[in-house]
C-alpha cells in the first residue's frame, strides 16, 4: 500500500507535470530518463536488425532477404547499436542520473548543455532514421573507403551526418562530467573517496572529449569526398584508403572503452554492494580506468594488421595493445578478490555482475588472440572478431548496463521489480548470449568471413546454434522491458536503501527529490565503508 505521506512527498517525478516539463527540463535525473527512453528505442530497433541477420544465417543460401538488404541490415545494426545505443548507454542514462548524486552535487555543471546533448542525440538519430527509411545504408558501420565514398549507392551522407551530430552529444556529456567531477564534489568528497563508477565515467569523459572530434572530422572528409569528389581517400582521385582506416580507428578503438569503462564502474559498485566489502585495491581499480583511457588511444592500428600498413607499424601496435590488456586484468582480479570473506548476496544485479565478469574475461582473453600478429592475420575479419567484440560490448557493456539498471531501478522509480522474474531474465540472457556467440569463435577460426550473406554448407550447424541462442537472448531482453514497466505501478515500495549500499545516492529518498539533497552532504568516510554505514544506522 502506498501511504498518503509517500504520495505527497515531493520528488523529481511529481515536481511538475506535462510534456513540456520533461522536454524543457534541466534536471539531470529527468534528462537521464529521456536518454533511457531514447536508447531503449534504439536498442530494440538494433535488436530487430540483429534478429533478421540471425534468421538469414540460419541456412547457407541467402533465402530470406536480398543481398543488398542483408548488407543494410548489418550496417544499420552496427550503426544503431554502436553510435545510438552503446556509446550513450551507461554515461548518458545511469551516469547522468547518478554521477551528480554520488558526489553530492545538486546537478551537473551545465544543466542546459546536458539537455542540449539529449536533443543532439535525437537529431542525430533522426538523420539515421531518415537514412534507414529512405532506403538504408550498406557500407558496414566502419564506412571503409573507397566503397563508401565512391561505390555505394545508399544513404551514406545522411547516416554520416547523423553520427556527426550525435558525436557532439557525446562530447558535451563528457565535458559536463569532467567539469562536474572537478568542481562540484561535496565537502569531504576527495578524489579517492569517489565511488568507482564516478572514476570510470570520468575516464570515459576524457575519451569522449578527446576522441570524438576525430571521428567527426573523418566523417566530414568522407562526406566531402562523396559529395564534392575531393581526393582524400579514393586512390582514383589521388587519395589514400588506408588513411581513412587510421582516422576511423583512432576514434573507434577508444570508443570501445567509451562503451565498456562505465560498465566496469557499475561492476565495481555491484560487487562491493552485494558482498558488503570495499572494492579490493580501490586505487588500482580507479587508476586502471585512467590507464585504459590513455593507452586506448595508442592501439588503433591493431585493427589494420592486414590492411597494407607496414610490418613495423603492426609490431608497434601489437606491442602496445598488450599494455591495455593489463589494467583490464587488474580490474577482474580485484573484483574477484573483493568477494573474499564478503557477505555475498545473489540479488539480480549481482547475477548480472557475475555474468559480466565471466563474459568480459572471455572477451578480454580473446582480445589477446586478435592482438597477436600471427593469429590475427588468420582470424581478422572473421566471426572470431565478431564473437570477441560481442563478448566485450554485449557480454560486457550490456550486462553491466542491465545490472546497473536493476541496481538503481528502485532509486529511479521508487519501486522494486519482481525478483524471481528478474533472476530468470539474468540467467536467460547469460545462457542465450553464450549459445549465440561462443560458436562464432569456432566459426571464425574455421575461416567464416564476416558480413557474408551466404556461406558454405559446412558452417551451418554452428550458425544454427548461434541463431537458436539469439532467440533465447531476445526473450531475455524482452523480460526486463515487461517487468520494469509493470513495477512502475505494481512494484513494492523500495525505500531509500533496499540493498544496504553505501553511496550517497542511497542516503536520500527513493525516488530522489528534485534537488537531490535537502542540505549539502558532508562526506567523512571512504567509499564502501559498510561498518560506518551500520554504525550510523545504529547511532
Amino acid at each position: 500500500m502506498i501511504t498518503a505521506a509517500a504520495q505527497e512527498r515531493q520528488t523529481y517525478l511529481n515536481e511538475s507535470y506535462g510534456l513540456k516539463s520533461w522536454l524543457l527540463t534541466k534536471d539531470h535525473k529527468r534528462i537521464g530518463l529521456l536518454y533511457l527512453g531514447t536508447i531503449t528505442f534504439f536498442f530494440f530497433l538494433g535488436g530487430i536488425f540483429a534478429t533478421l541477420i540471425r534468421l538469414e544465417l540460419l541456412t547457407p543460401k541467402g533465402d530470406l532477404v536480398a543481398p543488398d538488404t542483408y548488407n543494410k541490415l548489418f550496417t544499420l545494426h552496427g550503426v544503431i547499436m554502436v553510435f545510438f545505443f552503446l556509446i550513450p548507454s551507461i554515461p548518458a542514462t545511469l551516469g547522468n542520473f547518478f554521477l551528480p548524486i554520488m558526489i553530492g552535487a545538486k546537478d551537473l555543471a551545465f544543466p542546459r548543455i546536458n539537455l542540449l546533448s539529449w536533443y543532439l542525440l535525437v537529431i542525430g538519430g533522426c538523420f539515421g532514421m531518415y537514412a534507414m527509411l529512405a532506403g538504408g545504408v550498406d557500407t558496414g558501420w566502419t564506412f571503409y573507403v573507397p566503397y563508401s565514398s565512391t561505390y555505394s549507392n545508399t544513404y551514406v551522407v545522411a547516416t554520416g551526418l547523423g553520427i556527426f551530430i550525435a558525436g557532439f552529444s557525446s562530447i558535451l556529456t563528457g565535458l559536463n562530467f569532467i567539469v562536474t567531477v572537478h568542481r562540484m564534489r561535496a565537502p569531504g568528497m576527495t578524489w579517492f573517496r569517489m565511488p568507482l563508477f564516478v572514476w570510470s565515467n570520468y575516464a570515459t569523459a576524457l575519451i569522449q572529449v578527446l576522441g570524438t572530434p576525430v571521428i567527426a572530422i573523418t566523417l566530414v572528409l568522407l562526406i566531402c569526398e562523396r559529395s564534392l569528389h575531393i581526393g582524400i581517400f579514393d586512390p582514383a582521385r589521388g587519395g589514400d584508403p588506408v588513411l581513412f582506416q587510421h582516422l576511423f580507428w583512432f576514434y573507434s578503438h577508444p570508443a570501445v572503452y567509451i562503451m565498456v569503462l562505465p560498465g566496469m564502474g557499475i561492476i565495481s559498485e555491484l560487487v562491493s554492494t552485494f558482498s558488503k566489502k570495499a572494492v579490493f585495491g580501490y586505487k588500482f581499480v580507479a587508476f586502471s580506468s585512467v590507464a585504459i583511457a590513455v593507452l586506448g588511444f595508442l592501439v588503433w592500428g591493431h585493427h589494420m594488421f592486414v590492411s597494407g600498413q607496414s610490418v613495423y607499424a603492426g609490431l608497434v601496435f601489437s606491442f602496445l595493445s598488450y599494455f591495455v590488456a593489463i589494467p583490464s586484468a587488474i580490474k577482474v582480479f580485484n573484483w574477484t578478490a573483493t568477494l573474499y570473506k564478503g557477505s555475498i548476496s545473489y540479488a539480480t544485479p549481482m547475477l548480472y555482475a557475475f555474468g559480466f565478469i565471466g563474459l568480459f574475461t572471455v572477451g578480454g582473453l580473446t582480445g589477446l588472440f586478435v592482438a597477436c600478429l600471427g593469429i590475427d592475420v588468420h582470424v581478422h575479419d572473421t566471426y572470431f572478431v565478431i564473437a570477441h567484440f560481442h563478448y566485450i560490448m554485449v557480454g560486457g557493456t550490456l550486462m553491466a548496463y542491465l545490472g546497473g539498471l536493476h541496481y538503481w531501478w528502485p532509486k529511479i522509480s521508487g519501486r522494486m521489480y519482481p525478483e524471481g522474474f528478474a533472476k530468470l531474465s539474468a540467467l536467460t540472457v547469460y545462457l542465450g548470449f553464450n549459445l549465440t556467440f561462443f560458436p562464432q569463435f569456432i566459426l571464425g577460426y574455421l575461416g567464416m568471413p564476416r558480413r557474408y550473406w551466404q556461406y558454405p554448407d559446412e558452417f551451418q550447424v554452428l550458425h544454427v546454434m548461434s541463431t537458436a541462442g539469439a532467440s533465447v537472448l531476445a526473450v531475455g531482453y524482452l523480460m526486463p522491458l515487461i517487468y520494469f514497466t509493470w513495477s512502475l505501478r505494481y512494484g513494492a515500495i523500495a525505500g531509500p536503501n533496499p540493498w544496504g549500499a553505501t553511496g550517497l545516492e542511497w542516503q536520500i529518498a527513493s525516488p530522489p527529490p528534485a534537488h537531490n539533497f535537502d542540505e549539502t552532504p558532508i562526506v567523512t568516510t571512504e567509499a564502501y565503508d559498510y561498518a560506518a554505514l551500520e554504525a550510523a544506522k545504529v547511532g
Binding site: P60, D68, N71, D138, T142, Y144, P146, A236, P241, S275, K276, F280, G281, Y282, K283, F284, V306, G308, V311, L315, S318, Y322, A325, I326, A329, I330, A337, L339, Y340, K341, G342, S343, I344, G358, T361, V362, L365, T366, L368, A371, L373, G374, I375, V377, H378, H380, D381, T382, G447, P449, R450, P456, D457, E458, Q460, V461, G500, Y530, A531, E534
Partner: protein
C-alpha cells in the same frame, strides 16, 4: 541441413602449423585464467554467501604484493604472446626467394589470377604442392581481401597499390578462397577454390590451354600500346631504357632516387609525371584507362624479363609456350 560439424580448419600450408601452435599456447593461457576466475567466483560466492542481512564482513585491506603479482605475471605472459606472434607474423609477411609469382586482381565480385606461364584463371587457383607461391595483388575498384583459411593467411587487396601474400601448400586438396573485406552486394559470392595439385598433375594442367607466358602477353601489349616508339630496346631513345631496369636504383630529376619495383613501374605507367627520371623530360602520356590492372601486371612482368635474373634463364619473352593471341578481358 548439413550434418557435419567441423571444429578446426585443415592445415594445408607451411605457416598453418606455426599459427596453430601459437593458438594452442594462447588457448592454454586463456583456459587457465578463465577457469581460475570462474572457480574463484563460484568458491567465494558459495563459501561467503550472505547468511544474515545484518552481518558486516571484516574489512580486508588491499595487498600491494598481490597487486604487483597479478600485474607482473599477465604482463610477462602477454610479452611472450607478442614476441611469438611477431615471429610468426614475420614468417607470414616475408615470402621466400624461390616463391613462384602469381598476380591477382580483385574486382567486384571476382578474383582474376594470372600465372607466369600465361594461364589465367577466374576464382580458381591451381598450384603445385610444396612450391612456395607469392601473390602480388591489386584491386580495380574497392578494397578486397584474399583469404585462404587452410593456409592461415590473408591480405587486403587495395586499389592503387600492390600488396603481397605468400604460402607454401603442404597438402594436396581443394581449399576455400574467401574475400574477407566487405566489398558490396555480392561480397559473399567473391569466393573460389585453391587446387593444390601433385607436381605431375600440375604440369599436365599447365600444358593444357595455355595462352603464352605472362611476359609474352606483356610484350604483345608493349607493342600494341606503342611503348616501343619511345622506349627503344636496342639503343637509347627519348625515354629511359627499360633494359636492366627492374630492381635497379633509378635517379630522379628532383635529386632523390627510387628502387624500381612493381609499384614504381605501375606508377610510371599510370601516373608518369609523378616521378621523372633524371635527364629526361616529362613527356610520357598517362595510360590510365588504356590499360587494365591485369595489363599493367603483364607489362611489369615483361619489363622484369628485360632484366636477366642472375643464374636463371626463365621468364624471358621467348621462353615458355609459343606466343598466341591473348583474349582481351
Amino acid at each position: 541441413m548439413g550434418s557435419e560439424l567441423p571444429l578446426f580448419p585443415v592445415q594445408a600450408s607451411s605457416i598453418a602449423p606455426m599459427v596453430d601452435h601459437l593458438l594452442y599456447f594462447l588457448l592454454a593461457v586463456s583456459v587457465f585464467f578463465t577457469l581460475g576466475i570462474f572457480f574463484s567466483i563460484f568458491y567465494f560466492a558459495i563459501r561467503y554467501r550472505r547468511r544474515s542481512e545484518s552481518e558486516i564482513p571484516p574489512k580486508v585491506e588491499g595487498v600491494m604484493s598481490l597487486e604487483i603479482t597479478w600485474t607482473a605475471i599477465p604482463f610477462g605472459l602477454t610479452m611472450i604472446m607478442f614476441m611469438w606472434g611477431a615471429s610468426v607474423f614475420f614468417a607470414i609477411s616475408r615470402p621466400p626467394d624461390d616463391a613462384q609469382q602469381i598476380y591477382v586482381v580483385g574486382k567486384q565480385w571476382m578474383w582474376k589470377l594470372q600465372h607466369m606461364e600465361g594461364q589465367r584463371e577466374i576464382n580458381e587457383l591451381h598450384i603445385p604442392v610444396g612450391q612456395a607461391v607469392k601473390l602480388t595483388m591489386t584491386s580495380e575498384d574497392v578494397i578486397h581481401d584474399f583469404f585462404v583459411p587452410a593456409f592461415r593467411t590473408k591480405a587486403d587487396v587495395l586499389p592503387g597499390r600492390y600488396t603481397t601474400a605468400w604460402f607454401k601448400p603442404t597438402k594436396t586438396g581443394k581449399y576455400h578462397i574467401f574475400c574477407s573485406q566487405y566489398c558490396g552486394t555480392k561480397h559473399s559470392d567473391m569466393i573460389g577454390w585453391v587446387y593444390v595439385m601433385a607436381p605431375q598433375e600440375y604440369q599436365a594442367w599447365l600444358s593444357g590451354g595455355t595462352t603464352g607466358s605472362l611476359a609474352s602477353s606483356g610484350e604483345k601489349l608493349f607493342q600494341d600500346l606503342a611503348c616501343a616508339n619511345c622506349h627503344h630496346l636496342k639503343d637509347k631513345g627519348r625515354c629511359p631504357d627499360l633494359r636492366n631496369l627492374f630492381g635497379s636504383t633509378v635517379p630522379l630529376s628532383d635529386g632523390t632516387s627510387v628502387k624500381a619495383d612493381e609499384a614504381y613501374i605501375r606508377e610510371s605507367i599510370l601516373s608518369p609525371a609523378a616521378k621523372i627520371v633524371a635527364g629526361y623530360q616529362p613527356i610520357m602520356p598517362t595510360f590510365q584507362g588504356l590499360v587494365t590492372e591485369e595489363g599493367v601486371l603483364q607489362l611489369i612482368e615483361y619489363i622484369k624479363s628485360l632484366t636477366p635474373k642472375p643464374g636463371a634463364q626463365t621468364g624471358g619473352p621467348g621462353t615458355g609456350a609459343p606466343t598466341q593471341k591473348i583474349s582481351k578481358r
